[in-house]
Amino acid sequence: MITFAATSIYMEIKQVPLQHVHEKLGAKMVPFAGFNMPVRYSSDIEEHMTVRNCVGVFDVSHMGEFTIKGTYALDLIQRVTSNDASKLIDGQAQYSCLPNEVGGIVDDLIVYKIKENDYLLVVNAGNIEKDWNWIAKHNTKGAEMTNISEDICLFAVQGPKAVGVLQKLTATDLSSIPYYHFAIGEFAGVNDVVMSNTGYTGAGGFEIYVNKASAEKVWNEIFRAGASENIKPIGLGARDTLRLEKGFCLYGNDIDDTTSPLEAGLGWITKFTKEFTNSANLLKQKEAGVTKKLVGFKMIDKGIPRHDYQLKDAAGNVIGKVTSGTQSPMLSVGVGLGYVTTENSKVGTEIFVDVRGKGLKAIVTKVPFV
């Protein structure tokens, strides 16, 4: 039956600095975005529920980090990103994307404003080189760009108990940091740690950026502080189901070089208050209206939607395809994201997912699903 996980024989697979820790914890490691990553420690569903109900820790050190500094830092960021970074105050972060010149998306990312002329961009692991080259190509005025991806570890500590656990490790008042804001300070005895009220789970919690040299100490301190809450390590499997329940896009699945941010429902991070790559065409697209839209849908018939399955209307016409799908651990029902023609995108529209030749009924649903 089984093709469990692709193992690549021709591509060099990188390791996250704490690989030995994950192996000791019994993680199943799989290649993802060029890195050998923990996909599961015990059970996807158990790990999912741990984050929804309590607190769990993801090692997402594969993510890429660039610093952009100097007089022209904001100018460069404004040119390459779709959201309006001029609105950021010190200590604030912003979800954004890098539009390409042909209507698609180079990557989605988070832009952190540390202070004036000092920004941090956090990008997807699989796109580090592509993004770097893309941004560098647009860096005509000479902003200082540094790729610090290999020096930084990132732990996402997520769940309703996360803030309580993390607060034991820092004097910074975490509860005073709003969503998409951050502080830099001492954490677990380590200086210059970024404590960011962000995440990819919709469960609350922080993302902790720490220098590689101190990463294992910080990881251990987080687990020590969380022991009384039964804190657990969480794999990429649960990360995917957690983000999907909240309707968050995954680059490479739901958005890519060919999908427009407007089609993807990312109009809220596409600000025409400034000029950026392809902004004139995207503005035209906004005014004319998009022909397809990314929607959430929930299965009515029993079945699980998967990436690339066809979506059809009641008459059997192909209206789009699934970009992400799973069984929601919270709802115990199949849920997915997919592009459909605009006329089929309204919440409540009945659509059909082609699962192994059977047209299974689903309904377009507002996200988040939970």
């Binding site: 039956m1 089984i2 093709t3 469990f4 996980a5 199943k28 996909v39 599961r40 059970s43 996807d44 569903i45 158990e46 999912h48 499997g237 995917d240 189901t241 029993k302 079945g303 699980i304 998967r306 799973t326 069984q327 651990p329 115990s332 192994r356």
Partner: protein, 126 residues
């Protein structure tokens, strides 16, 4: 991980147990562990003759979907209906309550050509 000596195995990670003319089929402990949480076992071959190596159903884990292949030719006579409400039995008891189908054997000789427990262990490197 358990790999009972009393069963026969396929390289596709199914197991088969023969009692008279009837054989019970499921997936191995190794397979369930690799797939992760099983959330749906979709079998629509009951009543059908299915050839050796042909698909008799699919198993869906949270992250993946995999076809199920017949270790030997036969007619599918029963599906383990308890998996409709409790597919996680495939994880918790792959050789017991997590069985998937029963078949009527077409050619009992095909069974003896399948992998022994020792051969299957070698295949998965245990």
């Amino acid at each position: 991980m358990t790999i009972p000596d009393s069963l026969k195995y396929t390289k596709d990670h199914e197991w088969i147990k023969v009692e008279g003319n009837i054989a019970t089929i499921g997936i191995t402990d190794f397979a369930q562990g690799e797939l992760g949480d099983i959330v749906y076992v979709d079998i629509n071959s009951v009543g059908q003759e299915v050839g050796q190596h042909d698909v008799f159903g699919t198993v869906e884990a949270v992250k993946t979907v995999s076809d199920l292949y017949m270790p030997v030719a036969g007619k599918v006579v029963e599906f383990n209906k308890s998996l409709e409400s409790a597919p996680e039995k495939v994880n918790s008891d792959p050789y017991g309550d997590g069985w998937m189908v029963k078949i009527e054997l077409k050619d009992a000789a095909q069974v003896s050509a399948l992998l022994t427990a020792a051969q299957y262990k070698e295949l998965i490197g245990k």
